[in-house]
Symmetry: C2
Subunit: 261 residues, 2 copies
DNA sequence: CGATCGTTTGAAAGATATCAAGACTCGTGG
DNA sequence: CCACGAGTCTTGATATCTTTCAAACGATCG
């Protein structure tokens, strides 16, 4: 039995020894900022604060103009598209990720609502300080670009998933993907509420729930929040994972070939 | 009567006096590269080529590893998600935009298939040259970041549109948005094939076609490829545009407050 | 003219959402 | 300790939406 966090958060294995206690120390835990100079990180965190927020905390509302750049140090944050009283989960954000840096950079309103899912530590950096730092520090700019590129590719994958696959296929691939990851194990537990998985996959909880039952016919037996891998080959036959949809999408620092001068 | 290009391509009004004849001149027409030094643009285009491609030309296939960065100078390019024999339009790209720079920067496979829609002029820049230039020129890095940010926000808007609205609402808002733009006019023509609009909006051509008929009840009468604005208030009452979904998303160069030194 | 491609339409099946009710979990306060 | 309330999950019945398959229509182009 293995417990697995979803896709965007394989980095769940992190849990640094000691949780950082200052904004500066928090940023030091972010892998893709490694190439950024200490001075820039100092400048960035000069007026920053490190907050611990309980689950359910609203971080910002759709249409708000960003005052801070938020960086998730630990825990997780859900980003919802909102329309009237309906919400749909657009992205789940985990340790080391920024919350909608595009809106902060462009001084544009947030397109999504952010709410804490698992108790989270967040670094809050003044929006203007962030913009200035990106504008003046090339290494930071490169790092943010890599971060933004990863976010873009995740969105494209999600769009393909929703537009090209049926509800059952989306659910099946979601589970099969986790199954392959934990594979020597015979079962795993969901770490995400079902209503959130359903929303992320673009369907109602009821449809998701029903699909769950039917999926037992394809080698994946669902029992509460644990999934038993009964017949992985049957699952593979029915649900074909596509790396261009289901593959991971980590932040990759820009690599340039050695200059052959 | 007004002819209008869609959303991503309001920049249709451009058509520079003389089409550029060299890669270097072509990049000079791209607005968001204005802050980039001439030397960098020279370096970028040293081994670049400027191609004119007829409609239907395949530019690259899903899963390919990028060899070039493509920049659209004129015309337009469709980006499809592909699964077996199914295609879905994920993004339409017009003059001044880059084709999936995220894949090029990260040396990752393309997630989409690119095909020329309207005859296009394209600058082809060696992928490695592009990466090196971004890594060494801060202004270019900033410009690409702004470009990528705009792309990300477009994807989020599209995801909200598809997950939060019904098929009829998506179609209605699509038309109403154009209607508002051309407003003193009483009608307008579609510049995009209906099958492409349908695909972009996440439905089949048949569903789209049927929805078209029903939409006449809400003040927008469809006749072939021209839409008559019969009753704009009825349309507004039924279809509520949301700037956080339907608003434009142009590339914005990073603006930093004046340094008060 | 015939071929191709995009569009429209019909009829039927299928997928998905909605509404409503019950089961279950979990934390709180009596 | 138990009962309660809130939230989640499941299940059933039903309605709606959407797709599928098929055919016909209309343009465009050699």
């Amino acid at each position: 039995m293995v417990t697995e966090r979803l896709d965007n958060m394989q980095s769940r294995v992190d849990t640094p020894q000691q949780p950082p206690t200052t904004p500066r120390a928090a940023l030091a835990t972010v892998a893709w900022l490694r190439a950024v100079s200490g001075e820039t990180l100092d400048r960035l965190t000069e007026f920053a604060v490190l907050h611990r927020m309980p689950p359910g905390s609203m971080l910002f509302e759709q249409a708000e103009t960003p005052a801070f750049l938020l960086c998730v140090v630990s825990g997780s944050v859900e980003l919802f598209g909102v329309r009237g009283s309906d919400e749909t989960l657009i992205e789940l954000v985990g340790p080391g990720d920024l919350l909608l840096p595009a809106a902060v950079l462009n001084r544009q309103p947030y397109l999504l609502r952010a709410r804490v899912l698992d108790e989270a530590q967040l670094v809050m950096i003044q929006a203007e300080a962030f913009r200035r730092a990106v504008a003046s520090d090339h290494a930071l700019c490169l790092a943010v670009l890599a971060c933004e590129a990863a976010h873009f590719r995740r969105q494209v994958k999600s769009a393909k998933n929703i537009k090209l696959r049926s509800a059952e296929e989306r659910v099946g691939c979601y589970f099969l993907k986790i199954a392959e990851q934990v594979l020597p194990a015979a079962s795993f537990k969901l770490t995400l509420e079902k209503r959130l998985i359903a929303s992320q996959l673009g369907m109602t909880r009821e449809t998701f729930s029903r699909t769950l039952a039917g999926i037992g016919q394809h080698g994946l037996q669902v029992e509460g929040d644990t999934i038993h891998i009964i017949n992985i080959d049957a699952a593979r036959a029915r649900f074909q994972l596509d790396p261009l949809i289901d593959g991971p999408e980590a932040v990759q620092p820009l690599a340039v070939e050695a200059t052959t001068t």
